[in-house]
């Protein structure tokens, strides 16, 4: 990085660097590739949605049908009418959003601590969070349940949130570390030399530059918490405390066999909040310095 730092005013702009380049958008090849990627990514999703509009008996045919005919809304009706659906939605949303907020906050602080400071125990901490991620979570279920039971947190939102937090934090810290490290200290220093406090430097310089990392890990944390099954199954064993994935499992055992239509309808509905969340935050996935601002 060779930018001069004497009198920089760094103003991260929402406008994107790439849009100014003449190379963007025009080429055939990238666009064709993009379409291919889109198709491969979405084909299974399309099939899931397709199946959710099909009657059970039509789901498997020797000759595949690409359009549901006859279609049916029965599967969705089943999902909405089934006991505890909205309770499960509420539980899932509460837990997931809580995990999201806490994980990002705690992980960001920890990532900053670990990438910006030297202190005793720093390396040990980093190695520890790496090692923790190597342990298969299933091996810890019984012990974890015992702790929660001891604190009377079984069948509580708080209990499940703390559990997910413990599993999401290591990975989030690990990844954010890289993003924070990528933001050169000099930028903060320069801003502080201009008179702002350390905190302000963080808020106006580092945070926006780390935002893409926060978005990427935030979405990941969201998805982890939203789709997690086995811990929710064991910790929330009362039907009114279930989260969506556990609730959805009942369709696998409905009608004495798997109700595929119901499963797919439920899965489709479950995917919607995730996509909404992503659409809300995706612009922040790529915010960077604009060239003009750096030169000041």
């Amino acid at each position: 990085m060779t930018a001069t730092l004497d009198s920089m005013t760094l103003v991260p702009q929402p406008q994107r660097v790439e849009e100014r380049s003449r190379k963007r958008g025009g080429n055939i090849v990238p666009n064709v590739l993009a379409v291919i990627v889109f198709l491969i990514s979405t084909f299974p999703v399309y099939w899931m949605v397709l199946t959710s509009f099909r009657r059970g008996v039509d789901i498997q045919r020797p000759t595949p049908q690409f359009v549901p005919s006859p279609g049916t809304l029965q599967n969705y009706r089943k999902v909405f009418n089934r006991d505890f659906f909205w309770t499960a939605v509420q539980n899932s949303l509460t837990v997931t959003l809580s995990v999201l907020a806490l994980a990002l906050l705690l992980a960001f602080l920890a990532a900053v601590a670990v990438s910006r400071f030297r202190f005793r125990g720093r390396k040990a901490f980093i190695i520890m969070i790496l090692l923790v991620q190597m342990v298969p979570a299933e091996a810890l279920i019984i012990s974890l349940f015992r702790i929660l039971d001891g604190w009377q947190l079984v069948n509580t939102i708080l209990g499940l949130t703390l559990t997910y937090l413990a599993f999401v934090l290591p990975f989030t810290i690990w990844t954010l570390r890289g993003f924070v490290a990528n933001v050169p200290k000099e930028l903060e220093e320069a801003s502080m030399m201009d008179g702002s406090t350390r905190l302000r430097a963080f808020m106006t310089i580092t945070l926006p530059l780390v935002a893409p990392g926060l978005v990427a890990t935030g979405v990941f944390a969201f998805i982890q918490a939203w789709n997690e099954f086995i811990f929710a199954l064991v910790i929330m064993n009362k039907p009114d405390k279930q989260t969506l994935p556990v609730w959805l499992q009942a369709f696998n055992e409905g009608a004495k066999g798997t109700d595929w239509g119901g499963v797919m309808a439920g899965s489709t509905l479950m995917a919607i909040p995730v996509v909404i969340f992503f659409l809300l935050v995706q612009r922040r996935l790529a915010s960077g310095l604009t060239a003009g601002a750096v030169k000041g």
Binding site: P44, F125, I126, L140, F229, A291
Partner: protein, 306 residues
Amino acid sequence: MKSSLTMEQIEGIDVRRRRPRPLPYLLLLPALLALVLMLGFPLIRLVTLSLQDFGLKQQFGAPAEWVGLKNFREILSDDQFWQVLRRTIVFCAVNVMLTMVLGLAIAMLLNRLGKWMRLLTMTGLMLAWSMPALTATVIWQWIFDTQYGIANWLFGRQGQSWLSNPLTFYFVATIIVVWMGIPFVAFTLYAGLTQIPSETMEAASIDGATPWQRFLDIVVPSLKPILLILTSLSVLWDFRVFTQIYVLQSAGGINRDTNLLGVYAYRTSIGSSHFDRGAAIAIVMVLITVLLTLVYLRSMVRQEEL
């Protein structure tokens, strides 16, 4: 007086007297607290369980005997374990490579696209990412179903079983795992790519660097920290892969020939309430993972990086 301040001096650390500042510890404290409270006891338990005779009976109150390394010996002397381990390492290597290479390629593609095409592609990837592992595996399995699958219909090979031959079984499993893993890698790398100022790239091309050179000399070094982090994460995850294999196995093939470590661990321990073996296998898996990432770990410890 303040012409050449070092970071430490700005922070107030007096390097000579080395008084530890509380700030980093304070920042670290909440996360550390959460981790220790929730995972501390279970992890210690994991170690003690692996050295005990602990099954369902002990869970309900029977006293647990200390058996030293018996559980480890049983696991490591099982022929199946080594077969499974070999398969898992190969599977993991292939999957990580594919995920990272394709993920990087797609990230660069995203960087090149115009605003709307990029949004389209990202939405597609996002939809893929948002599918729960179980549902995604089921759908892919249907695509490769012996009698009703689209794959067979497309290739005109009705009745071809993809899951009964271990090699094609792993082929299908790889497609699923890589398909599910690419979005996160692509998005994260894309985020990293946007942090590279375009002037640097433009300056380089003006200087006559070819796209390949620009890639090697600018993109890769800038992305290096993130690339390493993502690769290490992918190794960790793909080594332990469970859901996809488990669901595929229930749909076809001979389980003994297609078990990978995650599923093998489950079947021989947790699934049959042998918590002692489950703990021992978990520890063995951690040790093996450490071995696999040893080179990376060592370079991390040595370098400023860490």
